[in-house]
Every structure is written in structure tokens, then in C-alpha cells.
């Protein structure tokens, strides 16, 4: 299928439900053909933002451009953005074929063109053989694919996916995730994917925006966001993070309890340091931070220690290899920091 690749530009978008502000000052640019994720906890406004792009919910203030066209004030049926709903929203009174044909019929396409287009869309998602089933006769994963076929059949400029994997079981989720990505690459559709699952966002998206409380916290590639979080929220939301308070003293970061930590890229007004559990080495002595093992969890490939230090509890993950004796609870240990992977925060 040929798609006109279109980028999305959102400018100073504000939206509220009554007196409750849900989105504030959203600005972002999504490149044509990009797979973009909105990541955030529930209530962060990520779904509301997606729905605003599709034209659902209260009318926002600000601009939403698809290509060069501002669609912010258009009704949903004039936007030509395809949305796949979290619940799939397949119409139970129509067969799979009629569900997929619906959008084309609404566009008053001649019947002889609709048939082949529907079959092509169903073929794309691998469900042509189920075209005459009713939605209730399909499994969750199949329903998901029909919803996808129904959306791509109209050849939208933009594909919006609202938590598309949340209703699937864990094994299927991983499979559908790969299929979604493959399909997106094949069609080259500009795609926005809403999720609260950082792993989903990390594995699928080219770039993502982390939202919290209706505000964009950071935009970047998954690796950028993980390695260089802009603030404590992003650091804590993407993976586990030990965040220690303190201040810069010369080239080093000194924690509140007075521990001196070397950093690779000093930041003048930094007041926090992010230590990922797997970037901390635990040993008997010689590290920067002294502590005592308060708790130990055996996780199979890893051992996770909870170490009591003057700066509070620090989580440390070590790879487990058999034969290597772990530190016991109560043991005195010393933690050393990899200065290359300890980003600083200033907020």
C-alpha cells in the first residue's frame, strides 16, 4: 500500500476536563515514518493526548498539524488518522470483512474497489482466512489484528495505537509487539503508540515522549532517556534508579552524607546523582560508599542487595555466577560507582 508519509507537529497544546487541567503546553515534532511512543503512568495524559490527535474528548487549545494541515478543530471523521482502540472496538454485529470495509464504504468508494482493498488489508495482518467470521468468534490476538486491518484499510496518514497490547496475555504481547513493528516498517506509517509499559516503549519505538501530570518530561530515543534522564521522574520511571542528593564540589559530586563520587561529565548546578543498580559494584572494601547489607534477594541470573548506607538504602544488582559466594545479610560492604554511567540531575 502506498502511504503519503506525514509528520506530526503539536504546538502549545492545552486541554482540560472542566476545571482539571489534563495537558499543559505540549510541544513535539514527530518525523514522517517514525514509530513514536507516549509513555507514562496512568493519569499522565498520554491517552488524552492521543485521543486529542484523533479528535476525541474536549477540544484542546493549540495546534495539531499533520503534514501542513492543522486538524485541531476538525471533527474526527475528517482527520484521516487511523486509531486502534485499546478495546479494539470491533462492531459485534458485523463480520470481520464488513468491519474492515466500513471505513471504505464511508468514503463512498465503489464496491469493486472495496473488496480487493479489504482483502489486501486482511492479508497484511494474516487473517484473510477468517474474513467471514464474527468478531466474537476470534481470539484476543486475532481481534487485535482485525482492528489493525480495519484501520490500515483506509490508508490513514497517521496510525494511532492506544495501549494496543494491554488486553493480550504476556506471551502474545511479545509476539504482537514484533509484528506491529514489522508492519509499521513495511507500511512506513507515522505511528504513535501509547503505553504505560517501558519495556514495550523501549523495544518498539524510534523515539518516545515520557509524560507525567499532563506535561512532557522528556523526548528522545529509549537509550537517551535511560542514560541521560532529564529529571528524577524519568530516571525512576525508566528502570530502577538510586537517586542520591548532594552537590558538586570541584570535579566530584558529594552526597548529602559527605561521600565523594567522581563523575565523568561534571554539571555545575547538579543536586542529584542517578545510580543504576547494575552500574554499582559491590566488594568487601575499596569503593566510594561504605555500607551494610540489609537484605538480599536471589533472582536467578542476578542477586539484588539492599545496602544500608549513610545516604539511605541503595539497591545493587550483581550478576550471579555459580560458585561465587554472596554477601550475607549484615555483612559490611563497599560500593564503587562507574563514573561513566552516573548521570547528574539539576532540578
Amino acid at each position: 500500500m502506498t502511504q503519503t508519509k506525514a509528520g506530526i507537529r503539536i504546538e502549545d497544546l492545552h486541554l482540560s476536563f472542566g476545571d482539571t487541567k489534563v495537558l499543559e503546553g505540549i510541544d513535539m515534532v514527530i518525523e514522517p515514518g517514525e514509530f513514536f511512543a507516549f509513555l507514562g503512568p496512568s493519569g499522565s495524559g498520554k491517552s488524552t493526548l492521543l485521543r486529542a490527535i484523533a479528535g476525541f474528548g474536549p477540544t484542546p487549545r493549540g495546534r495539531i498539524l499533520i503534514g501542513d494541515r492543522d486538524i485541531a478543530k476538525l471533527p474526527p471523521w475528517k482527520r484521516n488518522v487511523g486509531m486502534v482502540f485499546q478495546s479494539y472496538a470491533l462492531w459485534p454485529h458485523m463480520s470481520v470483512r464488513r468491519n474492515v470495509a466500513f471505513g471504505l464504504e464511508e468514503r463512498r468508494m465503489p464496491a469493486r474497489e472495496i473488496g480487493p482493498r479489504v482483502e489486501r488489508a486482511l492479508e497484511t495482518v494474516g487473517l484473510l482466512h477468517l474474513a467471514d467470521r464474527m468478531p466474537a468468534q476470534l481470539s484476543g490476538g486475532q481481534q487485535q489484528r482485525v482492528a489493525l486491518a480495519r484501520t490500515i484499510a483506509i490508508e490513514p496518514q497517521v496510525l494511532l495505537l492506544d495501549e494496543p497490547l494491554s488486553n493480550l496475555d504476556a506471551a502474545l504481547r511479545v509476539q504482537m509487539r514484533r509484528e506491529l513493528l514489522a508492519l509499521q516498517r513495511k507500511l512506513g506509517l507515522t505511528t504513535i503508540f501509547v503505553t504505560h509499559d517501558q519495556e514495550e516503549a523501549n523495544t518498539t519505538s524510534d523515539r518516545m515522549a515520557v509524560l507525567d501530570k499532563g506535561v512532557i518530561q522528556q523526548i528522545g530515543t529509549p537509550q537517551q532517556l535511560y542514560d541521560q534522564p532529564a529529571n528524577a521522574f524519568v530516571a525512576g520511571f525508566l528502570g530502577t534508579a538510586n537517586i542520591l542528593k548532594g552537590a558538586m564540589q570541584g570535579p566530584d559530586f558529594v552526597t548529602a552524607a559527605g561521600q565523594r563520587l567522581p563523575v565523568a561529565a561534571p554539571l555545575g548546578d547538579a543536586n542529584r546523582i542517578v545510580l543504576r543498580p547494575q552500574n554499582i559494584r559491590i566488594s568487601g572494601s575499596g569503593g566510594e560508599i561504605a555500607g551494610r547489607v540489609a537484605h538480599r534477594e536471589f533472582l536467578g541470573s542476578q542477586i539484588r542487595y539492599l545496602v544500608e548506607t549513610p545516604d539511605g538504602q541503595i539497591i545493587v544488582d550483581t550478576l550471579h555466577s555459580s560458585g561465587q559466594p554472596p554477601y550475607d545479610e549484615g555483612a559490611t560492604v563497599s560500593l564503587s560507582i562507574d563514573s561513566q554511567s552516573a548521570p547528574l540531575l539539576a532540578d
Partner: protein, 576 residues
Amino acid sequence: MPDTSQTASRGFTLFPRLSGAAVAGILIAIFLMAFLILPVAQVIYVAFLDARTGAFTLQNFQDFFSTTLFRESFVNSFYVSAMSVVVATLIALPLAYITTRFNFAGTAAIQALGIIPLIMPPFVGAVAMSLLFGRNGSINLLLNQYFGFRIPFMEGLNGVILVQSIHYFPFILINLSASLRNIDRSMEEAAQNLGSHGVRMFRRIVFPLAMPGYLAGAALVFIKVFDDLGTPLLLNVNNMLAPQAYLRITGVGINDPMGYVISFILVAFSVFSLWASFLFMRGKDYATVQKGGGGLSRRDLKPSEKWLAWGVIVLILAMVLSPHIGLLLLAFGTIWSFSPLPDGFTVQHFGTIFTQSSQYVWNTIVYAGSAALIDVVLGTAIAYIVIRTKVAGRKWLDYMATAALAVPGVVLGIGYLRMFHGIQLPFGLGQMSSFWGIIIVALAVRRLPYALRACMAALQQVSLSLEEAAESLGASRASTIRRIVVPLMTGGILAGFVTSFATAAVELSATIMLVGRSSDAPLAYGIYLYMQSPAGRGPGAALGILAVVIVALGTYLSQRIIERERARQTMTGQQH
């Protein structure tokens, strides 16, 4: 019969318990056979017998369809039922649409509209309606005086259609609103996202999704109207099936085959409608509302639309309240004839009924009270046997009790007359078919399906773990039922009792066949007798007011009980 796997796991005390349940089940089955299945089966059987020789024949049906009056009655019954569905739909559709699609302040008023008609049995308001809407009723007198024309609201079949549709439209309103409310917002949004909107979207997405609920409601209205005896009788419309059955049996005699043929047709249509509405609903559970999602998105009305909406509601409210208003005018009016309003007002009619007809009230309280008591006892027992035991064939108790839904009151009445005719009761109680006790049984059988549903719902609310907790603390099965299950079901049982009582109190179609003497008659029959003559209308309406008060109080009470129960359930945070 005890289930062996249960025996093994539950151990020794099991035998006395299960056989107790089995014995109860057998007794209930005998009761239902004697007072529901056999009488109705006999009515159907007799329809196929030659009245003189007793041989099997289809002659009765041929006679039926070759008689002009019966053919006309058949067509009329069908026409009135279908038109009642149409008119009820015209009333219910805008109301359902307004409440589910818009943010509208009048939603409470519409909800009230859905209950007001149900608290007055249609035959009670029928005469009052003809005084308001009849040829020389208030409305037509005013129309004629100021505009020089009349509208034949109440002429012949029109009257039945108007009274029935005003009474029964809530069935459509409730079902249709529930269906609309069960459509998830995403159904509509998906359509909009794919380029659909407005009327086209309503036709292709919203309407088909609401259809099963609508059809179920419509089938219910159709059959209620088709089976109803009281309304046509009181409006003096006799060329319909139910009145013909009644008139043949009471006029020509118990052996006249035509009454049975009509009964067969009534039962066949009832079964067919229930079956059809079951088919409409089966596999079409379009309840698509997602957890945390909302129903269809609602929008605010523009000022002009708001006025229109209020206009529609006030108009319908006026129509719906007209039987109540008419009844009040009639009950408190002195003489009301050829004038828009009664000549004067009085409380004398109430005095009349309390001095002359208090037996109606007492009979009603005794009959409806006993019937409701039987219903909740049977309902609780059946619910327990069906849900909590493994007694073989337990589902059949449920089916048999529920089958009463498909039996019109007239048919049950005819069945009792036929079956218990000539059976002499001991102790000078006279013939069984004219004994007042049989009225109680008829009422109990007619209301049992509703009471059974209430009891089943109540029992399902009682978590099995609560019973298991009692048993593990050493309580026997019987004492668990007595001390844990029944107390926890009380709210539901009470609600079932009150509903049964309130509806049994105004039942007419079965009782009218079974009342032997006026001194044994209940309220509904009293209203019917009074309404026969113009002079009796005042006292008849006063009795009607009493009936409405009883039903309204009953509805209110059962609603309160259910709400209180629900509050208690959420408070204790029971999980199932």
C-alpha cells in the same frame, strides 16, 4: 438424589441434608405439576378434543377460524398488540435517546416516567381514560368547543391501544436505554475515526447494537397486551381473544371448546414471543462497555434543543399521568359526565367503599399476602436447591416455575376451572374451583417467576465461603441454612415478597375466572364490578386509588429494601 462425589468429600452428615433437599424438591415439583403444568396441559388437550365424543380432532380449530367473530377477534388482538408496540416505541424512543445521548437535567424526570405507569394496572385507569379522552371526554369536549373537531382516541380498539401503550412503554424504555447505555464509547469513536458520523453512523452502528434490547422489550409488550383481559373488558371491547375466552367460558359454559382453542392460541403466542425474545438476545450480548470506559459520549443540548426535549417530556408526562389524574378526578368527583371536569368534589366514595366494600380490601390483603408468602418460601427453596445442591433434575424446578411467565392469567383460570370443577372439598368448603383458596394458589403461581428471580439473585449474593465458614465451625447443614443463608438473603426475599404482594394485589385476569362469590372477591374484581355501571365509577375509582397506593407503596418499599441491601453489600465488601 445424592451425588456420590459430594458424599465422599463432604462426609457423613451429607445424607440427611441432601435427602431433605430432594424431598423439598419433590414437594415443590408436585405443587407445580398440580397447579401449573397439568391445568395448562389440560386446557391445551381439551382444545383438540371433540366436545361430545371425546375423540381427538382439529374440528375445533376449523370452527374457530370459520366463525367471523373469532377471526375478527384474532385479527384485533394481533392488531392491538402490534399497534401498542408501535405507540409504546414512539413514546419510549425519544426518552431513551435523550437520556443516553445528551447531558440533560431532566433525566430524573424521565426515570420517574419509567416507573409511574407501572404502579397502576392498566384496567384501573381504563375507565378514567375514557372520561378524559373518550368521545365525550374532557379533551374532546374542549377540542369540539374551541376547534370544532374530535379525535377518536378511545374509539373501539384505539382505546385499548392507547391505554396499553401508556402502561407498557416502560418495558421498551428500560430495555432500550439499557442497550444504549451498554454500547461502549469506542464503538462510536471507531466509526467516527473511519469517517462516519451523524445519522448514518447512528443507523449503521448505534441502532444495530441497541436492536436486541429493543426487540426483547417489544416482544414483552406485545405479549402482555395480547394476553391482557382486564383492559378490553373494562373498555367494553369484547371482540378480542382474551375477552372472548372469558366470555365463552363464563357465558356458554365450561365445556365449550372455543374457550380452549383461544387459550391454546394465547399460550402459543406467549411461548413464541418469549422464545423470539430469547433468540434476539442470545449470542447478541452486545454489552461492549469496557472497564473504566463510558457509554456513548453525551453532548450538551443547545438552548432550542433543550426546549424541544422538555416539550417532549412534558407532553409524555401529561399522557402518562392522565390515567392517574383521571382516576383521582373520578374518585373525588361527584358527577362527571359531558363536562371537562366533575361537577363537584367529595370524599363520599371513599366512605362508600369502606362501609360497603371493605371485604375487597381485606380479601386482597389476605390473598396477596398469602400468595407472596408462598412465593418467597417456594422461591427460596427452589433457589437453594438449584444453586447450592446437586439434586438430580433441579434445573427443571427452575424451568417449571419460570414457565408460568408464558401462561396468560385467563388460561390459568380456565385450567383451574376445568381441572378442579366438581372436586368437593371437605369441611363444607364447597367446590374446589370456586373455593377462595384457589385464588391464592393462582396468584402465587402467576407471581412465582418474579419472586424466584429475586430469591436467586439474593442467594447468589451470599458467598459460598460464608457457608463453608459456618460448616467448618461445626454448624450442620440445616442450621447453616437457618442461621447464615436465610438471614443473609433476607433483603432479597423481602423485596421479592413486596413485589409479589403488590402485583398480586391488582391481578385481574386469573382471579376474574375464579371468584365464586362477591364476598370472596379481591380489590381488582371489586373495581371491575363497580366500573360496570356509571353510578359505580366513583367508588370503583376510589378502590382504584387504593390499589395504586398499595402498588406504589410496594414498589417504593422493595426499591428501598434493594438499595439498603446493596449498600450493606458494598459496606461489608463481599467478594465473589
